[in-house]
Symmetry: C2
Subunit: 168 residues, 2 copies
């Protein structure tokens, strides 16, 4: 397979994988394109390479920036803005975990905490089953939360890092 082919393949597949994970196809594709572009590129280049409209590129790049996966680069003496993706894939993963945790796991745990305090007799079969279910989901969520925190912080701490190595 040639380089140009491989790049296209990567970009298109990355978009497809993104979709399965609840990530906008175009956003994932733009990210992929930037990941395999050694140098920063402009909106027009993204438009051309992926055959998508200016507005679409603009919105999705802004989203990527809000996830801290892409940064805006100002080249002195150039009018246009350039964009570049974080290339350290570990940092990328960490960043995505952080964001999704904040946007999804945290609100979920908040909800479960509320639901645990349902009124009524805990002896009642239905109530008991509900409270126990909510509590166990919450417990699982908290474990995931802590596990992800450890993963995020692994770089900063030799001890947890050495434990994580066992998973490699």
């Amino acid at each position: 397979m040639k380089l140009s082919e491989a790049k296209l393949q990567f970009i298109s597949s990355w978009g497809a994988f993104g979709t399965q994970w609840g990530i906008n196809r175009t956003m994932a594709q733009i990210h992929a394109l930037l990941l395999v572009s050694p140098d920063p590129i402009t909106q027009d280049e993204v438009m051309e390479q992926l055959s998508i409209s200016r507005g679409n590129v603009n919105m999705n790049i802004r989203d990527l920036i809000s996830w801290s996966l892409v940064e805006r680069i100002i080249v002195p003496g150039e009018r246009r803005e350039y964009f570049s993706a974080e290339k350290d894939i570990w940092k990328v993963a960490t960043q995505i975990i952080k964001e999704r945790k904040k946007r999804e796991l945290d609100p979920m745990l908040k909800l479960l905490t509320q639901l645990e305090n349902v009124e009524g007799d805990k002896k009642d079969r239905e109530t008991k089953q509900f409270v126990e279910m909510i509590a166990s989901i919450k417990k699982l969520g908290m474990s995931a939360d802590k596990m992800l925190d450890v993963t995020i912080k692994a770089e900063e701490n030799w001890f947890t890092a050495s434990i994580l190595k066992m998973f490699k």
Copy 2:
């Protein structure tokens, strides 16, 4: 909050969370309903409780069954089929991890392995950057793969289980 209210809240929020994770809203809601139902219930009950059509219930329950999250229960002497969700939430999580790993992570690693073998001079800047990027994504994917395997097998192995306890 009353029990009935809390159940509705849980079902509707669970559907919303599912959506963010690339899971059909209705499928997540049916799963939530079954999770908080102490006894197995019929398609008609699901239809009524969630106000959705027969066809929709049928398809989504079949999906849930294909994920091994729900089972079909035949009550002797009863014509209708009943459905019940796995209530052990750790098993549920394990099952979901297994399935998503198989359906998504495995194909991704396969793709990356192919892309690593791109033709061309590794000294070329573009080629080098591409191959390195693919390799590092693959490495990350393989680490995630192993980490998930360990998590899935934690129950079977006291040693890894005791390590995972540190994350709790």
